[in-house]
Symmetry: C2
Subunit: 457 residues, 2 copies
């Protein structure tokens, strides 16, 4: 595992050529070519992603990733910093690029990034900013964000709108408060919306930005693991309808995602675990090596070891960025990111928004998807056991709430976005760990069996 | 003027080569190369648009237009039909193509198009359709549209939602009824929304389609002149906010626009005149020849002469399609389509949505923009007189309602979408007839003078 506590970075040209070995530098770097991400080798994306790792003193210190036509180097070791005291700025971020042509953007990951005004300010368009946040996050980070937006930048004026916290407020009435504030503040097309908070804030602010004056720029500053590893990346925005989750929204990409890992210091344990459900998901659907790393490092993650969290966030973002780059509008591949979500959404909708956290519902949903995959004979029971094991260790649910019925599942799943011409398509594991399929071709009796196995009625 | 009562059409390859003269055909066609649109010669778009007109018996019968990489031939004369009785299908449409790369789509214009199921059905994706219409249009055309969608096509099921008629219902509460119906009807991502009605229905249905499940296909069937010449083309969708018009929405393109000119038979006179305001706008901002044609043919338009209306619709759509193709997201050129709209929106918002029709407010707004252009010394008084003359003849207002105050104009104009970093940019006429500018660089005193000239307080 690469340590990411004290990262530094530099830009490479877009050429696919690799940096040459450099044995004369003070840190004795040498070059080792390898794949950043195990899944790249397995999948058909090998040709899109090449990577270089520069090794210093036996530890991984620099890695260069090329995705599409963009290149970057991310450095991640205390060792380099120890040897170069003039570069001990602990706040230089790791960067993961989401490659979407003209709509590409960087994800900055690191400690203390909110203390670096230039990072945010380079992505602010126009002179007016609206920060959208909630009443839990505002007292903790709003002043810091306003300072980061305005320090040394007197031309920019910042307004904010503070929404009530919670999934149950991810609705049209609450969204209208954002529009009201934007219009009252006379924001124009050159304004920038900033989402400061978890997934609910990011989704609502993003959809508001997509719709206000038919589209203004926006920036994501996610403050939960859930938002940092999943919802802030990839441009899915929207709100819930009383009959289903995220049924109203837009695909709309941010200018950048800024992940200051220090914001996790204030995150409740239950929220932390909820976010880990999505981290575990990446391992199951496409990155077995990452899943194995999680099995070994789950205690460190739960204990909030900063380098473990930073690595889990970075690797999750790399997985998500690659999938989104290949399938922005979810014509196929991207749907695989929804392992467990169809069952999970049914739990959230049927059980009431906000009763369970999203990741808790997804965890139970993943167990159900894994159960179905096993019933279909697509995976062996060792995977079933490992999924139960890691979720239990993360203190996540491994079954839906007792009040859920088969009928509740069926009625919500019928309006799932992955239904096409009446057929419900699901993400199911198939083959060795790290492989999945998105399909409507499965035995519907097996689905019934799974639902009955997890519901009393 | 080309007659368009009995059009026929054929597709050309995308090559820029012109069809060869054909003097041997039964209808004695020959080729005349000319510009479809006078503005193409004047403007910088000449290289993008070439046209061929095939003349039969002295009357214009066929014209081929190339826009970008797409080509088509539109035929428009009773004479050809008279000479080829086997082709007397009066329902073959004129086609204007909106060239937006992968999001390109055709505008079909003609009489009796709703009696041709294949036209609509080729653009329906998936098996489920939701027709969005209002309580004025539903009794007149809903059955006809449902029949056109389903005849010979038993796999398709059609639901409909009937909204109250009027601009004052173009709001979030009414939009939610569309989502409610779509979800209750279990529509999925492969569904198609169909907007059947005027501009309000088209804008709301389009925004609902853009947002439902983050985007489903939609089709525009505009039934007013206003919607046929302007709002149904170009992908601007949205709803009003109590503080301003169209402040919430999306750029979202339809699969096709189907204009059955027969639907104008049921249009009230006041609505007809309102639509003509936008027709007149195209002449003023970019098509002096079209404006001159309107001056000569206004009586025919008001008398609903079918061929005059069809020509006005076709030429308006050509103008709009060209502008939208060049500037889909309104970074500059497209804004010129809003001549008079900043003043007009202020009238609609200040005076109350639905008191005046959109085109009535735009007409008064155009007079104010022309007044300001004249005060700035940018146009001569002959243009001012001609604008007053044609609007009066169309029975459109040439001044805002008496209750409008300078302050009402200023407060609404301050939240106009064309404000950028606090500066209000306006579309103003400049130079000979058919030329305009979109600019924030004008004497603000002159704007004050215009507002005071048209308001009592």
């Amino acid at each position: 595992m690469a340590s990411t506590t004290n990262p530094l970075y530099a830009s490479l040209s877009a050429k696919p050529s690799l940096p040459k070995p450099n044995n004369n530098s003070s840190s004795d770097l040498f070059v080792r070519v390898q794949n950043v991400n195990a899944v790249s080798l397995r999948s058909s994306f090998v040709s899109r992603t090449t990577a270089v790792e520069l090794i210093g003193g036996g530890n991984s210190v620099l890695s260069a990733t090329r995705m599409g036509s963009r290149s970057m180097i991310c450095a991640s070791s205390a060792q380099v910093v120890d040897q170069s005291p003039s570069k001990t700025d602990s706040k230089v971020p790791t960067i993961v690029e989401v490659d979407l042509g003209s709509r590409s953007y960087p994800i900055y990951i690191g400690s203390g990034l909110l203390d670096q005004p230039e990072l945010l300010q380079r992505h602010v368009h126009g002179k007016r900013v609206l920060v959208v946040t909630n009443n839990t996050i505002a007292p903790l980070y709003l002043d810091k964000v306003v300072d980061a937006l305005t320090r040394g930048n007197p031309n920019v004026s910042v307004d904010s709108v503070i929404l009530p916290d919670g999934e149950k407020y991810k609705d049209m009435d609450t969204l209208m408060k954002v529009f009201d504030k934007a219009i009252e503040s006379r924001l124009d097309r050159r304004s920038t919306f900033v989402a400061l908070g978890g997934g609910v804030i990011g989704d609502m602010c993003g959809y508001a930005a997509a719709s206000f004056l038919r589209g203004v720029n926006f920036i994501q500053i996610p403050t939960t693991v859930m938002a940092q590893v999943d919802s802030s990346v990839g441009g899915k925005t929207g709100i819930n309808h009383r009959l289903g989750k995220n049924l109203i929204g837009a695909f709309y990409q941010p200018q950048c995602v800024l992940i200051d890992t220090d914001t996790l210091n204030t995150l409740p344990d239950r929220e932390l675990a909820s976010g880990l459900a999505e981290v575990i998901k990446y391992g199951l659907i496409r990155d077995a090596e990452f899943f194995e790393w999680q099995e070994k490092n789950l205690k460190s993650l739960l204990a909030r070891d900063p380098s473990a969290l930073a690595y889990a966030i970075k690797r999750s973002c790399e997985n998500k960025a690659e999938v989104v780059s290949l399938d922005e509008k979810e014509s196929g591949l991207r749907a695989t990111l929804n392992l467990g979500h169809t069952f999970g959404h049914a739990i959230e909708t049927g059980f009431g928004y906000g009763q369970w956290l999203h990741g808790e519902a997804v965890a139970a949903g993943m167990v159900m998807a894994v159960d179905l995959s096993y019933r279909l004979g697509w995976i062996d029971d060792s995977i079933v056991k490992r999924v139960h094991q890691i979720l239990r260790e993360a203190k996540l649910p491994t079954a839906p709430p007792e009040t859920m019925t088969v009928e509740m599942f069926k009625s919500v799943m019928a309006v799932d976005k992955k239904v096409a011409d009446g057929l419900l398509r699901l993400i199911l594991l198939k083959g060795p760990l790290g492989n999945c399929v998105f399909t409507g071709e499965y035995d519907k009796k097996a689905l019934d069996e799974t639902l009955h196995a997890f519901c009393k009625s």
